[in-house]
């Protein structure tokens, strides 16, 4: 294999790697994207809601594309707050139904890959990157698990001026590149398990009150996770729905619960059971979500190397951002690389512009916000147990107040709040969250 040299090698065909590839292909830079799956998206899994604006940055004509990766526009979104006895729904009809849409990874990522191929990005699927080619600290390319030539089984070396690491949450190469401070642990990731469930014809619309072309995106909090820190979700697709749970791996490990048993338990919640009745599981899956945030943020550049997407930990669980951040970081990395080729300099000196760009964006500011929120919110057990129960019980009392003196009912409500969390406790929690957000 002669002539196997590229300007840029991108490791990983998820949204981050593909966005970088598309940006480079548009600028005529010769890039090779390496994907270990049989196609882009084959190894990927997400909730999944995608924000339209981020996709438009890559594909200006989106969503007017054929075939479209859009399952349903998100016309309604919100929260189900679940106690062991019942649930409270907080739903919002969106003004702009085109702001976000549901998708599945296999279709969405391959859509981006098709688009990238047309622009001239080269994609090598079914290929695993084993290691980085290094010269001292400088990254000079990658080594892949393909034989070098006929009769030469040694792994192939692919030199490149710049390597973009878009390997996803299991950031093995990022570590090999010497860009991380410490390996992440079980407390730094959430394990998500998900099922694609097909309901009998017409049931999805009837049970969730949707018309054709309308879609729902709901986060579920409370007893759904057996009160462990984490959330559940329901996202409607065209002909099926995505239902899943995300829990910190460390909490899951302590609990000794099996994630698929928790998922089954969630589906059997007295008020959700009807929704899933006679549903057929089309696919089960699992994936880690990077939650290491600012503290675990790797150095995003080195000599001849950049890190994008999940490998960097660019997610915001509170606003279900991840795909969009992967896209933005891929584009920023791409732009920096274009600059590097203009200058003819592929060292940190030029590539650090990527990190600077990211630091100026909302992505970095949100990482700072999240750091504080994580400390006060995600680890606050009251949020997942006390408050959902309190909310349900309070509203139950309120709506069954007929035939009684209302002052007595109100007193009962206050007594309940005082007993379960206490007014000082609530004020304290509010201040903590408020401080984190402002």
């Amino acid at each position: 294999m002669e002539e196997l040299k590229f300007d840029v090698v991108i490791v990983g065909g998820g949204p981050a790697g593909l966005s970088c590839g598309i940006t480079l292909a548009k600028a005529g830079i010769r890039a090779l994207l390496i994907e270990r799956g049989r196609f882009c998206g084959a190894k990927n899994l997400f909730g999944g809601v995608v924000y339209t604006k981020s996709v438009k940055e890559l594909v200006p004509e989106f969503p007017n594309v054929e075939p479209s990766p859009v399952e349903r526009p998100v016309t309604e979104e919100g929260y189900y707050i679940v106690s062991s006895e019942g649930l409270v729904k907080l739903l919002h009809r969106k003004k702009d139904p085109h702001e976000a849409f549901t998708a599945t990874r296999a279709r969405f990522d391959s859509f981006l890959a098709e688009y990238a191929l047309k622009l001239g990005l080269e994609i090598a699927p079914k290929t695993k990157v084993l290691d980085l080619l290094k010269e001292g600290q400088r990254i000079k390319g990658v080594i892949v698990d393909r034989p070098r030539a006929f009769g030469d089984p040694r792994p192939t070396e692919i030199p490149a001026n710049i390597v973009v690491i878009a390997e996803g949450v299991n950031r093995v190469l990022t570590e090999k590149a010497g860009l991380i401070g410490r390996p992440f642990g079980a407390e730094d990731v959430a394990l998500a398990v998900k099922e694609i469930i097909q309901l009998p014809k017409g049931a999805l619309e009837a049970r969730l009150g949707l018309a054709e072309g309308q879609g729902l995106a709901v986060e579920i909090i409370g007893d759904i996770t057996a009160c462990l820190p984490g959330t559940g979700f329901i996202y409607t697709n065209r002909n099926h729905l995505s239902f899943g749970l995300g829990l910190f791996l460390s909490n899951l490990r302590e609990s000794a619960f099996k994630p698929y048993e928790l998922l089954e338990r969630a589906k059997n919640h007295p008020h959700l059971r009807e929704l899933f009745k006679d549903g057929e599981i089309l696919e089960y899956g699992a994936h880690l979500i990077p939650e290491w945030g600012l503290e675990g943020l790797p150095r995003l550049y080195g000599d001849g190397v950049l890190v994008v997407g999940d490998s960097a930990g660019l997610v915001n669980p509170l606003f279900r951002e991840g795909t969009n951040l992967a896209i933005y970081s891929g584009i920023m990395a791409g732009k920096t690389i274009i600059e590097a080729f203009e200058k003819g300099d592929f060292s940190s000196r030029t590539l650090k512009a990527y990190e600077a760009q990211l630091r100026e964006s909302f992505i970095y500011q949100d990482l700072i916000t999240l750091k504080k929120l994580k400390k006060h919110l995600f680890t606050n057990i009251h949020l997942f147990k006390t408050y959902p129960e309190l909310l349900y019980d309070t509203i139950s009392l309120f709506f069954s107040a007929q035939g009684r003196p209302k002052r007595e009912v109100m007193r009962e409500i206050f007594e309940l709040i005082r007993k379960k969390r206490g007014f000082l406790g609530i004020v304290g929690d509010l201040i903590k969250v408020g401080r984190a957000l402002w």
């Binding site: 084959a42 190894k43 899994l45 057996a226 490990r253 899956g285 699992a286 994936h287």
Partner: protein, 98 residues
């Protein structure tokens, strides 16, 4: 174990398409002794695919063919006792939806 809930994980996993690499087992226990001395053996419960099972002698078996490649065991093992790798290119998990 979650109370009153039983899930046949093998049946659940059968909804997922795999291209099994018969020649390369991508997960490996570093030291069997560490597992024997590990009291709680959390890998038996947190792995979302039920890859880790106990045999009748109390030894951990790895059913790597059903691995969802999530990486939980890489960081979830309290003794960092699992050699973790992805399957070779083109093998392993192949989501239809994801």
């Amino acid at each position: 174990m979650v109370k009153d809930i039983y899930v046949n994980i093998d049946e659940k996993i059968s909804s997922v398409k795999f291209f099994v690499d018969e020649e390369y087992c991508h997960l490996k226990i570093k030291s069997e002794e560490v597992c024997l001395n590990c009291e709680r053996k959390p890998c038996l419960s947190f792995c979302p695919a039920g890859v880790y099972r106990l045999d009748s002698n109390g030894k951990i078996l790895i059913n790597y063919q059903a691995c969802l490649e999530c990486g939980s065991c890489r960081v979830g093992c309290p003794f960092n006792n699992i050699l973790w790798d992805y399957p070779r290119g083109g093998f392993g998990l192949n989501y239809k939806f994801g």
